[in-house]
Amino acid sequence: MSIKVRFFASLSDMVGESEMELEFAEGLTVLDVWAKTSPDDQLPSGSLFAINHNYSEPEDVLKDGDEIAFFPPLTGG
């Protein structure tokens, strides 16, 4: 399946990328994607995830065409 992966703010700095288009086997969870895209980096605690612009949980399973985003705690406002 084809997945778009996005990283924001400090997680983008850590991974060294802000956006990737990747092909994965079916059935991957959010955390699986992190492990495959950032094998050397542990996911910082407090990190947030969104699938297709909706907040998601680390065990949520991705499907073809999804956009998954990883980002640190929010600091807007």
Binding site: F8, Y55, A69, L74, T75, G76, G77
Partner: protein, 150 residues
Amino acid sequence: MRIKLVDRLFDPLDEIRATEAELAARRSKIGASSFFVGSMRDFNEGDRVQSMFLEHYPGMTESRLEEIADSAKTKWSLDWVLITHRVGQIHPAEPIVLVATWSGHRAQAFDSCRAIMEQLKSTAPFWKKESLNDGTRWVKNNTAGYSVND
């Protein structure tokens, strides 16, 4: 309601005035309005901050702000909700965010304005990167929005 992300200096009072002009026809039904403006300070965690970059998640940020405003309109009796938020490069003393609510009653205006602001802080994807005298750093966390005494 109106949600705006702006990438340059905006004037919160002009934003409010423009909205009130549109509300003029029903102004005599609106008894209360509550406004909050958050602006950039030139220090944080003991360090002088020269400027700041406000990153966001295009698409998701707007839809989260719309959900927050929609949810407020469901919970409170509101005539109008306005949220304006800066993105991009910003300098000390400049406004970052405006939340404005108009209602028939003051508790509705106060409660909704504050709740929108707290939800924005905790659920709208924005990230601040500060430029200090000796480099840049990402702000780690937002402060709590309610006093200990509340």
